[in-house]
């Protein structure tokens, strides 16, 4: 343990600088967001994820955001356990009919102002599951979606670019 901790003083951190966003689509969507409401929150956002039927690949990459390479919290973004503490609802998966109610209840439990981000192709448009008897066509079919982050699954870098669009002024 001591050796592992001491090593942290001598080696460079794993955490990497983030390059400028590459996807103009995300910048465009961010510009459409309500800038005034965003100012009220400053540069801190609390995120709450609801898996609405994803294959769990999106969750793997969202979890990766907290690893030392990406270190999400340095940007003022953090995942919170309760929807009552959250500003942003992240939705993954095509929204299965079995998860629809739980998703809506989570959204209703969040205080306003609040935003919804559809993470991954399934949440963005239903993905491969569009047309299934068991699925809605993505998050927009049940909630007002403010931002879409495409990818199957989106990489942590794409996720960071998308989420930072919410706090950049």
């Amino acid at each position: 343990m001591r050796r592992t901790l001491f090593e942290s003083f001598t080696r460079r951190p794993f955490t990497e600088k983030l390059a400028a966003p590459a996807d103009p689509e995300i910048a465009r969507m961010a510009a459409e967001l309500d800038v005034k409401a965003r100012r009220r929150l400053g540069r801190g956002l609390s995120l709450r994820l609801v898996d609405a039927g994803s294959c769990n690949a999106c969750e793997l990459e969202l979890n990766a955001l907290s690893n030392p390479y990406y270190d999400l919290e340095r940007f003022g973004l953090r995942f919170v356990a309760s929807p009552r503490h959250a500003d942003v609802l992240l939705v993954t998966g095509p929204v299965t009919k079995n998860m629809r109610e739980a998703l809506l209840r989570t959204y209703d439990a969040m205080p306003a102002p609040k935003w919804v981000v559809a993470v991954g192709d399934c949440a963005a448009c239903g993905g491969l599951y569009a047309g299934s008897y068991a699925c809605e066509r993505g998050a927009a079919a049940v909630l007002p979606v403010d931002l879409r982050i495409a990818g199957c699954p989106p990489s942590p870098t794409q996720l960071l670019e998308g989420l930072l669009a919410l706090v950049a002024s």
Binding site: T4, V50, A81, A102, P153
Partner: protein
């Protein structure tokens, strides 16, 4: 275990039926109810192990293996024109949830099961039995009846489907006496996407994409299982280089998942430094996967006929560097785990799964192997190229969180060994062969069992003359692991539920389909 002891009675004896010629590589027989019931009886006595039970309109299929030689596999099919068949779950509990799922999707009803409640169907689809020959709009009761719990001072904790962390949705009904869990009841099905319905009529390309997304953490293993089943059905041989590259990707996937799990289990024991360092190792695997194969999780890289992405010399060098790096750094983390008494206090003796239960359920992966079950689909039934590679299968008897963690540690070491062997012996050549589907062919059926990081994945397909999927069933290892979590948590404190759950790490999406 490798060869049958001839003194044991043959568990397939007098399981007679019409052999279906187009089913490969193991036999499928169409049986009558007496042979079906006989097989159920042998399952209940442990002579056979259940591999899967799935439906089709008017037909119910069951795959079983000889417990003493799991390379011997048989599929039994029972036609049930009345929509009823003798319940296997009545005598063999591992079949109960599978039968409930078959009833939800196909309206095929088991006769005499101990549990008739709907499982995947939560009454929200707007249709009942979506895959049945005749659909109807009848809905099950909205209110799901949880098992009753009586007793002084017992209180209940409903948890989920929305959980506190970044995990998949499922509901856990915990009944506790003070801090001690008296009963855990799971309710799953929240991520049911209707994958089997979407697969029907899909061409092979779309079907492979759907199969690869049954459980995102096992995308390579699912892609492989589906590809193996299709190739078995069509007599299609992928090139040797592709076979090796598939194994390379499968081992990278196993490595990434086990590294992530070891960190996450320790984190649930309140030891965050392991999570931080293990997640760095996991990230390094994913980055090399992206650099070599163009996708961090290697999704859609394994397809019927081969692989889509080749590995160049620079990629090989990257992976050699990666394995050396992990070998060096992971050992120190494991020493740290081994020497931290406060962490071991959380893992040793916690969430014990008894070997008898693991054997009864035929639990695969680290769950089975940590509870004394010598099993690994890479060896039994076995598939290329593992017959030419050297690796050990770790087995422990304790069955606690600590044992499940150590099995993962040992498997990380074995995966590194395998990766290094694969890279040394990687032959040159094409990475994919095309298959000309002969329209004169009758429907072809294939089955495969592949070892994902979590355990054995079963894939079964029937392909029609036009080369489309007529019916495909994918059985996640979690089907035989989720029920065991309910048993393992009993008598533990409520606060240890997360660490027990993480040590199982069952798939919700793979189970719910």
């Amino acid at each position: 275990m490798t060869a049958r002891d001839p003194s044991l009675p043959d568990p397939f004896d007098r399981l007679n039926g019409r052999i279906v010629a187009e089913h490969r590589p193991w036999p499928r027989i169409e049986v009558q109810t007496d042979a079906w019931a006989k097989a159920a009886d042998r399952l209940s006595r442990g002579a056979l192990t259940l591999l899967g039970l799935w439906g089709e309109s008017h037909v119910v299929h069951m795959a079983v293996a000889d417990t003493n030689d799991p390379s011997l596999i048989l599929v039994l099919s029972l036609t049930c024109p009345e929509g009823r068949y003798p319940s296997v779950g009545r005598v063999h509990p591992p079949a109960i949830r599978l039968e409930r799922a078959v009833a939800d999707l196909f309206a095929l009803v088991p006769v005499g099961p101990p549990d008739m409640r709907p499982w995947l169907d939560h009454g929200k689809w707007g249709v009942h039995a979506p895959l049945a020959a005749q659909q109807n709009d009848a809905q099950p009761a909205e209110e799901y009846g949880f098992l009753p719990v009586d007793g002084e001072d017992i209180h209940q904790l409903p948890v989920g489907p929305v959980h506190a962390g970044i995990i998949e949705p499922g509901h856990f009904r915990i009944s506790a006496d003070g801090e001690t869990v008296v009963r855990l009841e799971e309710r799953l099905g929240y991520t049911h996407k209707g994958v089997e319905a979407l697969l029907q009529g899909a061409d092979l390309q779309r079907a492979a994409r759907l199969a690869s997304r049954c459980s995102g953490d096992s995308t390579v293993a699912y892609g492989l299982a589906f590809a193996h089943a299709v190739e078995a059905a069509l007599g299609w041989s992928p090139p040797t280089r592709a076979v090796r590259l598939r194994a390379l990707m499968a081992e990278l996937e196993r490595l990434a998942n086990h590294l992530g799990d070891v960190g996450a289990i320790c984190n649930d024991g309140g030891f965050a430094i392991m999570l931080a360092h293990c997640s760095v190792l996991r990230e390094s695997v994913l980055r090399q996967a992206a650099a070599c194969f163009g996708h961090r999780l290697m999704m859609d890289r394994v397809v019927p006929g081969g692989v889509t992405t080749d590995l160049d010399a620079a990629g090989s060098a990257r992976i050699v560097g990666l394995t050396g790096d992990i070998r060096r750094r992971f050992q120190r983390l494991i020493d740290l785990y081994d020497k931290t008494a406060s962490l071991q206090d959380r893992t040793v003796g916690t969430g014990v799964l008894k070997p008898a239960l693991a054997a009864q359920f035929g639990a695969g992966g680290y769950i089975g192997r940590a509870s004394g079950r010598l099993c690994d689909a890479r060896r039994w039934p076995g598939y290329a190229p593992y017959d030419e590679l050297e690796f050990e299968i770790p087995v422990l008897q304790e069955g606690d969180v600590n044992a499940r963690l150590w099995i993962r540690v040992r498997e990380v070491e074995q995966s590194i060994r395998l990766i290094e062997q694969i890279l040394v012996t990687l032959p040159d050549g094409p990475i994919r062969t095309e298959n000309a589907i002969d329209p004169a062919n009758p429907p072809a059926e294939g089955m495969a069992i592949v070892e994902g990081f979590r355990g054995d994945i079963l894939a079964w397909v029937r392909i029609d003359a036009a080369g489309r999927i007529e019916r495909c069933h994918l059985r996640d290892p979690s089907w035989f692991q989720w029920p065991l979590l309910e048993a393992a948590i009993e008598g533990n404190i409520v606060a240890d539920f997360p660490i027990c759950n993480k040590s199982f790490n069952c798939s919700y999406s793979g189970h719910d389909l």
